[in-house]
Amino acid sequence: ERVFTGDQVIRINVQSEEDLQLLRVMETQEEWELDFWLHPVTTELPVDIRVPRSSLSSVKEYLHAHAIAFTVVMENLQEVLDEEKAEMEMNQMQER
């Protein structure tokens, strides 16, 4: 089973068209293996990105370098997944 230990989900509240362009450049950076949960399309919607642990420093450097503010929505995705799985297993046991 694929694990996501150390992967983070970050959120960017896009401020400008320039931000959008810079975030679209990130979509083309295949080596970062980013998973865009919400794509950069408009300043009216946030952008959510799952960032693999191996790309965290590169991505954050890029955002800092372009003065794009972000928040970390999930510090460690695997922890959230573990909680979800544990809850599912508990529910299944209760149903039995």
């Binding site: 089973e1 694929r2 996501f4 949960w37 009216e44 999930m74 959230v80 979800e84 529910n91 299944q92």
Partner: protein, 307 residues
């Protein structure tokens, strides 16, 4: 019994399929389960049909979970199917609707992907078909419909999460739905349910032109999200796919609209802020309950506006 089923929990595919049988057993004069074909990995695809009689009456189509990782959509489908069955004969508007129209609901539109999210990769979105010449598997099933296929907003790279596939309807899961809709021939509404980002959309996605019924669809959408917001204040945006998200070709509701199904909509269910595809299970019932307000409004509108 469906009474002992926990609607506020996420369930694996087998549990949902098994639950469908209990629903049919509990409401045998209203609900039937029909196999519309098999998935790439040979899983059955079951549609729940809610009907009070007649053959090929005007019908409403609802599919959920075409993107497998959007778990709250499949869970909302389970709750909604139970709601339709249990409210028949108690909710006047739903009863009246079902006395003249049928509802078809496909809760697990991408069964292989859904099973894969439970066993191997919680973040899997696509189908599981093999792509010749590539190590990457799967096609984005919402880029695979014959509506501006392979145009802007879809990827030709099999490793991309928005890969459109080798040809329109190449994915057996999509072809199965297309076959049913076309052979039935009397669908008046086509609703696809996704998650997340709180949007109610209508065609088009493959281009940014207004559809001929834009004004009517927009008005329906805005009223529907007003109804939805009454319960928890959840705010939705309304508009065409192209104008409120992004240009995306090969989408299901563009195909259905071009086929002549005027009332074609797509939902993106709630996130509530910081969970994305991992919406906690305690949000399933609130999500489904509020969504039901919008769904019912659209369905009743469709009943009252025959064409």
């Amino acid at each position: 019994s469906t009474r002992s089923f926990n609607f506020g929990a996420y369930h694996p595919l087998e549990t949902i399929y098994s639950w469908m049988d209990t629903l049919v057993a509990q409401y045998p004069h209203l609900v039937t389960k029909e196999e519309i074909g098999r998935s790439y990995e040979n899983r059955p695809m079951y549609v729940l049909k809610f009907s009070t009689g007649g053959n090929k009456r005007p019908a409403i189509w609802i599919d959920l979970g075409i993107h497998s990782r959007e778990w709250v959509s499949q869970a909302t489908g389970v709750w909604t199917a139970n709601k339709i069955a249990s409210d028949y004969n108690t909710d006047a508007s739903l009863t009246s609707l079902l006395n003249t129209m049928d509802i078809y609901m496909l809760i697990l539109t991408n069964p292989d992907g859904y099973a894969y999210t439970h066993s191997n990769d919680r973040m899997w979105r696509k189908t599981r078909s093999k792509n010749p010449g590539s190590v990457c598997r799967g096609v984005d099933p919402n880029r695979n419909w014959d509506a501006g296929f392979a145009g802007p907003g879809a990827s030709k790279n099999p490793c991309s999460d928005s890969y459109h596939g080798p040809s329109a309807h190449s994915e057996i899961e999509i072809q199965n739905v297309v076959n049913l809709i076309k052979s039935h021939g009397n669908f008046k509404s086509f609703i696809s349910v996704h998650a997340y980002s709180q949007l109610l959309m209508y065609p088009y996605g493959y281009n940014c032109r207004d559809v001929p019924h834009q004004q009517e669809l927009d008005t329906i959408g805005r009223t529907a999200v007003e109804k939805l917001a009454v319960l928890y204040g959840t705010r939705y945006k309304v508009g065409s796919i192209c104008k409120i998200i992004y240009q995306a070709s090969g989408g299901s509701i563009d195909w259905s609209y071009n086929l002549g199904i005027k009332y074609s909509f797509a939902f993106e269910l709630r996130d509530t802020g910081r969970f994305g595809f991992l919406l906690p299970a305690n949000q399933i019932i609130p999500t489904a309950t509020e969504t039901w307000q919008a769904l019912k409004y659209i369905m009743v509108y469709v009943r009252d506006h025959p064409y």
